[in-house]
Subunit: 327 residues, 2 copies
């Protein structure tokens, strides 16, 4: 009979769940759709079912439950998610089990996991920047994710990096996210192509382009792709220079889909960041070590904390060596 | 026979010192020149003399010494001051007395004083923005000033708010300070006048203009002064929007000389800050309550901490009522 926690990472599209022991062994993992189109009450129901089924599948004792959710979390309440549509849902609503349950903010909890288990081990003060469809950050300060006064810290995707620039879908002007998220990079390049095709014929586009496609085209010398990628790098380096000057982090860990872009991202971004900091050294950029498991592993850490364990994870034998700075 | 701490606020030009009891009574204050033109060793000597003379003047028992200094402080060491020229001076070098001595960063310690005694009492998470000759910030997080990973946090004066703008004296482009410090406001207006006078004759300027003069002229309808003031407000509101999105403060406290500008500052700044935040409420702006005493009072708090007192200042009967939000 083993003892474990249920760890759940709730995304806008799918949920990833697992059972994790106090020694960091992942006993099993599973994935289910979030079904957000069926409304927030149905999503909460599906989370409860998933927690119950995972707990039963382990055939042992569940010590606690940890769940990470999109949108701000204050205290132990899911305050809001534009994506899912809930408001002020207490942690206990997400679990039918009679054991402690902890809620975490998705990006902040992934940052916590990188701090304890991943790319920023033994770094109490760093920035975890998640660049995917959107852009958000976890501010790890003195070893813990910092939530702000009302749970809304880390909205780095919406800081005005280009104050005379494009209007973001959020209504503000020149947000980082409107230049540098994976979705924006794809959109901006497609807009360039559309404008160009109204003047001269261009090859027919058969599938929606991704940010990865745009970066690949930029590397091959496509001038429009190079322009869009250049503007994304400029926006990112402005945001990271701003964060560095305000918060003095020891490193910056890049996660999310775009962080997989490798050399075309890390090398010019590190260079531009240092160029913008004339009188202080830029912090090194690291690639996140935990990949798609960061949220679930962070949820397991929260669960073991709520089960009363001090500093869970510090002895877990994970296969995630501390990476050297990139590049 | 009373017991007190020696509290010293070391500025680039002058030092303000005082004796403060455990009940917050200020027994005496004094001021001496910093004499930084005579070199860092002479400044340290003058600080030691001042500490010794203040201690003796009280005719009682000195429990501890608190000193705030310009430039970063890490641990209990003054890391660097461009202004004074020292490097890595340990706290004990500043005091000849055989009692504990604590060092604090000037702006961070003023922020601590505003947090415990001033405009942000019972607000654990706020921004203290000091706008004077330069611009710097204290980040009060969970009740304490946050120093960053190496003591260099809070350099908000050098974040790139206008990325295609003017080059700052620090070498970077578009720094907040180059648009919105008191010195920059005066300089930029004077440059406008100089350019204008090369085209059409303007009245002879007899004394150097101050930022206060520029704001007064802007209020009277001088178009060049209005332009300079408008750009300063724009830069400040961009920096405060960025800070709000990153750190989610409960309020923003404005200190330093320019914070005395009153309605022409607070009213348009609050309005522009809210305009830049389309989907979240702007934190309220407050005027710092402790004025020129903030540094010395913060030094007294540090000293009483180092003398072993828990939460000094919380019962001090200071004449600094919690101000309402401005405007």
């Amino acid at each position: 009979m083993s003892t474990y926690v249920v760890a759940l990472d709730v995304g806008g599209t799918s949920m990833k769940g697992g059972l994790v022991t106090a020694e960091g062994e992942i006993l099993l993992t599973d994935r289910r759709p979030t079904s957000r189109t069926e409304g927030p009450l149905r999503v909460i129901e599906k989370i409860r079912d998933f927690v119950e089924d995972l707990s039963a599948a382990g055939k042992g004792t569940t010590a606690a439950v940890g769940i990470v959710v999109p949108g701000p979390v204050a205290g132990n309440t899911a305050v809001y998610s534009a994506n899912i549509g809930w408001k002020n849902v207490p942690a206990t609503d997400f679990s039918p089990l009679n054991v402690p349950v902890s809620l975490g903010h998705d990006v902040r909890t992934a940052g916590l996991a990188e701090s304890v288990l991943g790319a920023a081990r033994s770094q109490p003060d760093f920035l975890f920047l998640s660049i995917g469809t959107g852009i958000a950050a976890a501010l790890i300060l003195q070893g813990d994710p910092y939530a702000g006064s009302t749970g809304w810290s880390g909205e780095i995707g919406h800081i005005p990096v280009i104050p005379t620039g494009e209007r973001c879908t959020c209504g503000q002007i020149g947000c980082l996210e409107t230049y540098a998220s994976a979705a924006s990079i794809a959109r901006r390049y497609t807009e360039h192509l559309t404008r160009a095709s109204s003047i001269t014929p261009t090859p027919h586009i058969t599938a929606p382009l991704t940010a990865e496609d745009v970066i690949a085209r930029a590397m091959r010398g496509d001038p429009q792709a190079a322009l869009v990628w250049d503007e994304a790098l400029e926006a990112l380096s402005l945001a990271l220079a701003t964060y560095t000057l305000l918060m003095d982090p020891s490193s910056i860990v890049l996660g999310g889909g775009l962080a997989e872009a490798g050399h075309p991202l890390y090398s010019p971004l590190a260079e531009r960041l240092q160029e913008k900091l004339t009188w202080r050294q830029a912090p090194p950029l690291h690639h996140a070590a935990l990949g798609m498991n960061a949220g679930m592993l962070g949820a397991a850490l929260l669960a073991w904390q709520s089960a009363g364990h001090q500093n869970p994870g510090t002895t877990w034998p994970l296969d995630a060596p501390t990476p050297p700075p990139v590049p």
